[in-house]
């Protein structure tokens, strides 16, 4: 998808004037880059600090904990907000810019305000050819029709479950094989707080190998 359509002869822009998606608000280009946050001015919840410090202690180089620390912050705040990144930066003694560069590299970190639930739909080769695109569209539609369920549906790369293709990861729970009709049910299960498509969860699925059975 391009922001420029040659046939219409027009460049499409977001409301803030940018041609690329992503957060732009609050970026002041004339300002100096943020330094390592001052602990006195950056309150960090004690449990988050303790958890990050425990991770840092596991590695010969504490910087190795940046991905686990961002996971912890995202679990707590729902997304890697500028404040969350600043708190992690404060504990790890890194700049927010460094951590933002890390967070923006990895697909699982959310740099925009997050919904309550996240569904990753695999549309890669096996899932895509077996109907993953269709499942994705139906899930998007179901999520739009039920805004109160607060579900974000994202196309995702191979999730490593091609045996249950087409599949999705619903808040981390792998389900499949899906049909387009399952979309409504998934959104409904999330809204009602039920286990998602319990009969199709990967965790309950036995191996197909004849030697695997007890």
């Amino acid at each position: 998808m391009s922001a420029f359509d040659p046939r219409a002869g027009k460049v499409y822009r977001f409301e803030d004037g940018s041609r690329v998606p992503g957060p732009h608000e609050g970026v002041e280009l004339t300002k100096d880059p943020a330094a390592v946050p001052d602990p006195a001015l950056t309150p960090v919840p004690d449990d988050l600090r303790a958890a990050i410090e425990a991770r840092m202690a596991r590695y010969p180089d504490p910087k190795s904990a940046s991905i686990p620390a961002l996971h912890l912050a995202q679990e707590r705040y729902g997304w890697c907000s500028p404040e969350a990144i600043e708190q992690v930066a404060c504990v790890m003694r890194l700049t927010p810019a460094y951590l933002t560069s890390v967070a923006s590299f990895y697909d699982m970190f959310k740099l925009t305000p997050a919904t309550k639930h996240t569904v990753f739909v695999c549309t890669n080769i096996t899932c895509g050819l077996l109907g993953g695109d269709d499942v994705y569209e139906h899930l998007c539609a179901a999520a739009r029709e039920h805004p109160e369920a607060d579900v974000d549906v994202r196309e995702f790369e191979c999730l490593g479950a091609c045996d249950i293709a087409p599949m999705a990861s619903v808040d981390g729970e792998y389900v499949g094989p899906l049909e387009s009709g399952d979309a409504e049910r998934i959104v409904d299960d999330l809204e009602q707080g039920r286990l998602v498509l319990e009969a199709k969860q990967l965790r309950n699925r036995p191996s197909v190998d004849p030697g695997a059975a007890v």
């Binding site: 359509d5 409301e15 590299f105 970190f109 890669n124 080769i125």
Partner: protein
């Protein structure tokens, strides 16, 4: 019946817990090994001839022998960032028998005098990471990890490190950068990780399946293990079969088994009434094979001679209901998204390939564009720090070569369709853009 070393009764309930794993003879290989001199472990592994199960197929014993014989602090990293499309074998090990992997890691570390190990597991595997973490904790509590393991004087710290969704972190040097807390950009090689890897120290990197096989090699003896499989591809291998087959899933096979027996025998072949159009023998990065290649023996060397590779052992079967262009677009889209952007030929080549294929599909291309597309693939191959770009160029190059006339037909059909389409739906960009990016004009 194929001997089952890893998948043997893997569906036993609670095999992921220490109690059941021990009851089934778990950690016996470790107890045995701790009586040996450390060198004996590498000797057994070398004798087994086991080749890396992650993709490159490099001999594990040889890799271990590359570690310098000095007292530099060295590390072992288990690559559990399984993200090659079509591959899901490590997931089953991590979920159902994580202690087998832990035991393999302890044995490998003991043999190579390593005292610090990491498991880099992909972020999406949440259930698997939980079970692995629980298993590691159990192993610590039972004295299989930590200080002075089972009173032998050998110590090992093992940390489970969760990734956050990046295919490139399965590449060994990208993984190391990611583990060091950076963006997962691959490094220039040499120096290879065995000489200079994690934190600049010598680092042994192995796949989950390879390390999980180590306890079995110790139990059987390397020479006995080497009798399985073929002369140069020893042992058993987990194969992930997916796509248009009736029984997709993981199977443990003896290397050298006929591909026909895997695809038709174990996995049931395509649905009745359909024929195989093409199949990827080793994940989406491997050059495709045709239905007439189905008799090829499934081992490292035979597949290489057939012009492809065993890769991660993931067979993706595609039947005659799918268009060649659809397959190519899926492959290109994936690699374009996952290119880390460090090397220009890969970053630009994957992106241009994706864009050109989109033009094929919308009827904005001519069959002559196939030559340009093919030349792009040639310009990517071998020109980057890692093989991500090659991993797109190899399958696409092989598809162009083997399905050229079909691809030409699809391009011409798309042109005809576009020419006959009403003017209105010729410019779907605005509506699509607004849907994809909320807030776009």
């Amino acid at each position: 019946m194929t001997p089952h070393l890893i998948f043997n009764r893997i569906d036993e309930p609670d095999l992921n817990t220490l109690a059941v794993y021990e009851r089934r003879g778990g950690y016996e290989s470790l107890r045995q090994v701790l009586q040996f001199p450390a060198d004996a472990v590498v000797e057994e592994i070398s004798a087994s001839g086991i080749r890396g199960r992650g993709g490159a197929g490099f001999k594990m014993g040889q890799k271990a022998s590359f570690l310098p014989k000095n007292d530099a602090v060295r590390y072992l990293v288990c690559n559990a960032d399984e993200s090659e499309p079509g591959t899901f074998k490590d997931r089953e090990i991590l979920q159902k028998t994580p202690h087998m992997l832990i035991e393999g890691i302890v044995i490998a570390c003991f043999g190579t005098n390593i005292h610090e190990a990491f498991i880099y597991i992909r972020g999406e595997y949440e259930l698997q990471a939980q079970r692995l973490q629980a298993a590691v904790q159990e192993a610590y509590d039972a004295g299989y990890l930590g200080e002075n393991i089972l009173g032998s004087g050998f110590s090992l710290e093992l940390t489970v490190h969760r990734g956050a969704g990046a295919y490139i972190c399965g590449e060994e040097t990208g993984l190391l950068d990611s583990l060091e807390g950076r963006r997962g950009n691959p490094r220039l090689k040499p120096p290879f990780p065995a000489v200079q890897g994690l934190y600049q120290g010598p680092t042994l990197i192995n796949n989950v399946e390879t390390l999980s096989t180590v306890p079995q090699i110790i139990r059987m003896g390397g020479a006995e293990y080497a009798k399985l499989g073929t002369e140069t591809s020893t042992g058993t291998k987990l194969i992930s079969v997916s796509g248009d087959v009736q029984r997709p899933g993981n199977y443990e096979i003896e290397l050298g088994t006929s591909s026909r027996d895997i695809i038709y025998g174990l996995a049931g072949g395509p649905k009745p009434g359909h024929e195989i159009k093409m199949w990827f023998p080793g994940g989406s990065s491997s050059p495709v094979l045709l239905p007439e290649d189905i008799g090829v023996a499934y081992d490292f060397d035979t597949l290489q001679k057939a012009g492809t590779m065993l890769g991660s052992g993931a067979i993706i079967v595609i039947d005659d209901t799918h268009s060649v262009l659809a397959v190519m677009q899926k492959v290109a889209k994936f690699y374009s998204h996952e290119s880390c952007g460090k090397c220009v030929p890969c970053r630009e080549g994957t992106n241009w390939t994706k864009k050109m294929l989109a033009r094929f599909a919308t009827g904005d291309a001519t069959p002559m564009d196939i030559d340009i597309l093919d030349s792009i693939q040639g310009q990517i191959m071998g020109h980057c720090l890692c093989v991500l770009g090659d991993a797109m160029a190899m399958p696409l190059g092989s598809i162009i070569k083997k399905f050229r006339s079909e691809l030409e037909g699809e391009i011409l059909d798309a042109r005809e369709h576009a020419a006959n389409a009403p003017a209105d739906d010729a410019i779907p960009v605005l509506a699509g853009l607004a849907g994809a990016y909320p807030g776009a004009l």
